[in-house]
Symmetry: C3
Subunit: 445 residues, 3 copies
């Protein structure tokens, strides 16, 4: 439960809000690389943290992200044309490069003043980096720009990862909390009975049938996992332990990385890893960037096809990345299926999460909650984020922004004896207490 003031602070990301200031000290996914498919292709609209931009890929293949309105008369550069190292406004032909510099002010006389005036006619432009199939943007003060966080994703060859994005029609924070709250797996993604579950999970998951059956049995049997949390420079290791067989516990360990990243808790050694990042479009909708990687082998064509069609964290979307099953159509809920087979009547793990998070409201009212021990992860997430937002308001840079290497971590699942602490489980599972990737990469143990 939060005060109304803290709920506002957690959820509002406008330029002058504390959380907005915090977000503007970190790099944000702005586009999938595939949304700007080729040099000098069509510009695209981007809305980030309530601000409008136009994105384009220039003749050299570099991405620009600039304010949308031409400084001459305000025409929108989305309707412009990319040509020869820049984007040209369709109204009178003024041209700008990806740094926002004016290359040509066609309607001005080419007299003595031209060269003096033109440099003052630039567009505001974001710093941009492109890696991991994602275009990253930095919207904050240029002098404070940190290095790009070093996710393990960035170490992968193209065949080793898959990325997608999906629209979430609610505030970023409650959707991010959904990923950190691993307790809900005992209900939201469950089938009505175990036989259904197994058949269902065969379709939904990528684990082996027998391993999967065990995990689902443990998930179903214990809706009150015990949380253990390890803070580190870039965020939090969040472990949730359920009773498994004998004296063992089944651990699902996720990572929260500031300010808006989560790594998924399901991966067993050898399986694919998953991460997500929540980027506010505004305070009532966000893009979720979803990425899957495997440090040991390529993502197979079959896996890639399943991700494209909607699988695990990847949603079934249209060409604009809007989920087919969404708020406006009640996620195509099948009440008969809900009665007889699945717990929600909604197809897709991603869509089940999307539905329940949207259903909390465009911005969930955290003043009316009744939290318990299984909510320990989101309680800690909120505390970290509110502290960081308050510090950002005082111009204090969060330690995470100075430690890009601290984002090169993994999260996943493990079965361990009940006497082991989370630190011991992390060391046993990842070779490192915080899941840090060891040089050489083979730290799944």
């Amino acid at each position: 439960m939060l005060s109304a003031a803290d709920n506002d602070m957690l959820t509002q990301t406008g330029a002058h809000s504390p959380m907005g200031m915090l977000f503007r000290r970190f790099w944000m996914p702005a586009l999938l690389s595939s949304e700007l498919a080729e040099p000098d292709g069509p510009p695209v609209r981007v809305r980030l943290l309530g601000e409008d931009y136009v994105g384009f890929r220039d003749s050299a293949g570099k991405v620009g992200l600039v304010e949308p309105h031409c400084p001459h008369r305000g025409a929108n550069l989305f309707f412009g044309r990319c040509e020869d190292g820049g984007i040209r406004c369709a109204y009178h032909g003024w041209k700008f490069d990806r740094a926002g510099q004016c290359l040509e002010a066609t309607t001005l006389p080419r007299d003595a003043k031209y060269d003096a005036v033109v440099p003052r006619l630039g567009l505001r432009a974001c710093a941009v980096e492109e890696v991991g199939g994602i275009v990253w943007a930095y919207l904050g003060p240029p002098a404070e720009r940190p290095a790009l966080p070093h996710f393990e994703l960035f170490d992968m060859a193209p065949e080793q990862f898959h990325v997608s994005k999906k629209l979430q029609e609610c505030n970023w924070a409650q959707s991010c909390e959904g990923a950190l709250d691993t307790a809900h797996f005992s209900f939201l993604h469950m089938s009505i009975n175990e036989d259904e579950q197994l058949g269902h999970s065969m379709r939904q998951s990528e684990a082996s049938a027998s391993g999967d059956a065990n995990r689902l049995r443990w998930l179903r049997a214990d809706p009150t996992p015990q949380f253990s949390i390890l803070p580190h420079e870039a965020g939090l290791v969040l472990g949730a332990a359920r009773r498994a067989d004998g004296d063992d516990l089944y651990w699902r360990i996720s990572q929260f990385l500031l300010p808006n990243h989560a790594l998924a808790p399901s991966t067993f050694p050898g399986e694919n890893y998953h991460g997500q990042c929540w980027v506010p479009i505004d305070d009532v909708s966000c893009w979720i960037y979803c990425y899957t990687w495997n440090p040991q082998r390529p993502i197979t064509d079959d896996e890639r096809a399943r991700y494209r069609a909607g699988h695990t964290i990847h949603a079934t979307t249209d060409a604009q990345h809007v989920p087919i099953r969404r708020r406006a159509n009640d996620y195509l809920i099948d009440r008969d299926d809900q009665k007889r087979r699945s717990y929600t009547g909604i197809a897709g793990v991603s869509e089940q999460d999307q539905m329940i998070q949207d259903s909390q409201g465009f911005i969930v009212d955290r003043t009316r909650e009744h939290l318990g021990p299984t909510d320990a992860g989101i309680v800690r997430f909120r505390r970290v984020m509110l502290d960081a937002a308050r510090a950002a308001m005082r111009q204090q840079l969060h330690v995470a922004a100075r430690h890009p290497e601290a984002f090169r971590v993994r999260a996943g699942g493990a079965v361990a004896h009940q006497d082991m602490s989370i630190s011991e489980v992390m060391r046993a599972r990842f070779g490192d207490v915080y899941g840090r990737v060891r040089e050489g990469g083979a730290n799944d143990v």
Copy 2:
């Protein structure tokens, strides 16, 4: 004509408005019984007087109407699952019964505190009664809950009544006024000429051809009916008398029953009776619950089929009870039909009313009206309602709320000598000056 302040008071039904307080001292139709078709079927969304609820029918067939957001994390119970005596939230499986009591808080540890904490985790729930094919809800302070008003509808066997509902896209009060203003029948529902009218009315009405022809002739000939009004404990008897043949008057007598009911004025002895109730969704739209009953015989299959297809007060709607002919499509007005045949070019008595009421605006500006003698009914309605709202603001319960039996009345039409007063006409037509149903039920005379 009202002052702007009185127009606001008449039309606003939010929880803290005077009219909202009045409405919350009476029972309101919340759903058709048929919208919750079976035990443990799908929950439904309900919006009543600007408040959101979730309705569901539990395993025992009893209806619950509870606040939509789970007290744990705020997920919407509309996406929940009805099972074994309650509704279970899809996020973490918390479960509630129809009284809002928490039956299971799955994520809390089953320790010593559990039994103490769980009773405090309930949902706000309305009192609910189900009768006459309608789920009735009481949203006010539990201690002040009155008995359900005893409409004659409730005495009928299932085969003797038919109910429907329809969306009206304007404020409740101007739509209710449309039902109390029986003067408009001389225009709104008329055909251009008498021959058309007869053919038209054959299709629209259920009276016998000859009786109908007379009534329509009288309606057409006299657009200035004389109003006579009799107040009683539950509301108003509103008589409108037009010149008939010889020394006779043709009386159309409706009833207004607090706070939002009207009984229709057309019924001659032996014909079906009709009633409607306007339930604000918010202040710019309402559900109209429509019911037809016959105390002497079953509603025939043919009549029922016609009501379902749209007839008299029953509209032609889609499966969600939204009229097919509605604001967004100009009621499928046929301007050629308007030119040659019907007065509006819009099919359906119900849709004609709906159109003209919507057309006044989302909330009609009553400061600009010019009322005359034929508006006596609505003038009296407003006075009664404004007085009652002011009393509700002072916590005074209206007398109608203490007299459920006073709602067991009828309304209808009669032909009577011009020397008879409304009291005499009522006694002659219904055996009672206020149209009260006599024991045994056979008071049509």
Copy 3:
């Protein structure tokens, strides 16, 4: 660049705004004559300068434009029925003539008071004139009503002109500026290369192939036309001169006529003339009335067919005059066409203008512009309009309102030696320095 206050003044046309007061001292196109096709046909909705009206053509063929709500109970006369010299409300049959006078108050008793009361039950009605295929309305104070401006269009026989209208989804002023800013032709309406341009212009324009080729070559070669401006009683002559061949200049001369008219700059002698008028629906959308005329010959069937299908200033619209290519569908932009052929990828000169004007925002932010010499026309337009609006606020009638004859002017193109001033070019092209039509009409020289 304007101050925020001046931008508001230029763009806001509500009844109590300075610009709204100015607009209300002039006649406005309210409907195409064809929207009221026949006497006693269906009424239509009209929204003008943020005010709602109902338009109808009475039995005698005369147009009325009246407030929409019946003074009795506020029902909307759009759903009324035109019959026998007036419009009848569908609710209770009150009837009004085109001057707004109540002809019949059906529900009032026909007693001694009736004749005294009824004259007080009128509707507010606009003065209306119908000429040039357009219904013109005057919304201002009746005592200040000026004569209708005398456009040359009004001298034409029906076969000599063609009119249309089209929706523009932004503020009127930036769209009007688009017509006065003739510099944009060097980019917005251009093809990528000259060969494309010629083929393209063959389809888009009506000039002869060789003349067209020259003009397009000159337009393409010189994006910095020199502006010369001549003020006159009704507005401004706006000349833009580009380098042509040898010592010649290619002049494109438009006219701005107060408060919201523009005549197009392209017409060479013998070609069709074009004019447009921007009528605010509200401050974020407007109707553009478009008219083409030829003082020397009929508009051919072929030209008329092309205008109907979308050509020059006439857009491709649906039956409600809404452009098929519009804001909601990104004007059906074809990015491949934009890459290879046309500069915008959007078909239609009208639609290209519409797109770029919409793209500036619903109301362009003129505080962020960087204007140059080629923007001289719009700078002067703003000054004239802001001065006139300030004067209107002080109840001073603009001189243009007292000189209806000053609107009988032409605009068009010419090729002239570089030593000729705009006055000399105007005299050579039109026989008059301000383009005034000479008696006899043959002043194209």
